[in-house]
Amino acid sequence: MNSPPSIRWLVALRAEAKEIISQYELKSFEHEGPYQIFKSKKYDIWLIISGIGKVNAAAASAYLFLKSKATPWSIWINFGIAGFEKNYGTIFKIDKIISHSNNKTFFPSKVIKDKIEYASLLTVDRAQENYSKNYMYDMEGSGFFETTSKIASHDLILVLKIVSDNSNNKVTSINKDNIDCLVKKNILAVKKCLKNLIDLSEEIYISKQKPKSFYELTSKYSFTFSQKIALEDLLKKWQLLFPKRKLDVIINDCKDSKSVIIRLKSDIDETAINWS
């Protein structure tokens, strides 16, 4: 449960979510709550529809965090449309977000490399029609990032925006169909980008896992809390030193938790690392 891929999508509008729901085979998650949520039956993938605005985005992020029991290796994505004077229809990763109302600035991580270029984002409270070539405009990015950077791994948060309007493509002409069309056009790039993040997420997941034998041993013997901490560390070391040895044979004659720890410790202490 909750192993990678573990993904949390936040989108403002149902039309932005439609293709994601279809691609990841998400189903409506029935619950009594303020936001519409979708989730995968197979994987730990969730999507929340926040509604428009940064307060909604912030609240929906926190709500989804709790509702979905997000993990330290969960990927968080704010996906949606934005205004930009150039590159109509193009998708961008965001590496700088400015909240227009309070001038707070945020810098999403830049660890993934792919074909999607980076852009800056200005999160505003009302739709803008004075488009900039320097910043994309949206209404959720800063609220999403400010909240998720407190509850998720900073390097697994992604803000993806597709250019949906500018002075040649008026905001008033945006409708469900052209949003769907823009998302469909970029969905492959999104999935490729996500693949890179999933790899990173897996690394974090692995680093948080206890050795398999930890669970076997703790179900067989009664370890105290501090013994469990020591056991986890010793097992990690023991498996590195003796990858081919069978642990159950080694501890076969151990009668209790204390003797398991002594046995592992003495094996480790008596062996010097072979650096070849």
Partner: protein
Amino acid sequence: MIDTIYIEKEIKKHPRTLEILSKFRNVRTIAIDRYGEVFNRKNQNFRIQKKNPCLILAKKHKGFVLPAPEGFGIGSSKNYYFSHMYNCIYDCSYCFLQGMYSSANFVLFVNYEDFVLEIKKLISKKENITFFSGYDCDSLALEKITGFASYILPIFKEYSNCILELRTKSNQIKPLDKIEPIKNCVIAFSLMPDKISLALDKKAPTIKRRIATIKKLSALGWKIGLRFDPLIFGDSWKDQYQDLHENIFNVINISSIHSISYGPLRFPIAMYKKINSMYQNEKLFVGPFEQNQSEVLYKQEIEEEMTEYCKNLSLNFAPESLIFNCKSN
């Protein structure tokens, strides 16, 4: 390869910022107020960021020169260190930086002049001082971009009562091959047996290449520091350290050596826990370690035996006056 440079607005037009930027093509620049906005933030992950680190150009405001930890020195009565940069292009498993910072981005402070002002204030006290560079970064690895060594070396030429140590693993020898050797500047190389280095010094030049660089620099007339630091324990460590000493002393004239030092592997407890939790399969953290009140370190008998044994190896080639222990107390 660096593809993004964050620049503090205050130093956006600093000549050194402009010079550094001119060395990059197709790089994305992002304006920031202070480097802390992007560096060492809560929930950042050092190991993940290490995959694609960005460069941050910043201005340092205080703490230009700091006292070196007690027990750290190569003969002077006072020891200080300074860091024009945080983080390093190499990825060594034992590096304390990964325990100190949650971010692997490189922070480069471009106001070198302010470092020099502080250094000169200390020098004016007429004491014998050693200044160490390369504590929070590698002194030479990014020289082509930073030009820091080119800037700082000539300044020390005027102060013969002081020593500057540039600590490195790099085989990049610019600007050292272009200028006259400076008697009171030591180019100090971190060294460990080849097999161990291959396992632990990821992305760093091999020991063979480091020794070749030492040979070149010594032939050019530079004073060399040999830093067996950290000392790493393992199977057949005695044979490995013996081979290492022989390989070095066979190619370098003893008159080129300024000093030889041995530093044990030690981590503050919290730092050890943090670094250990980042790795699932790193043999280094198998130990055998013990823990005192503040540090995680090799068992005392191992630490003492390794230091003593390696010192004796050096004594086969060099006088005792050149040999130092670098051990924090």
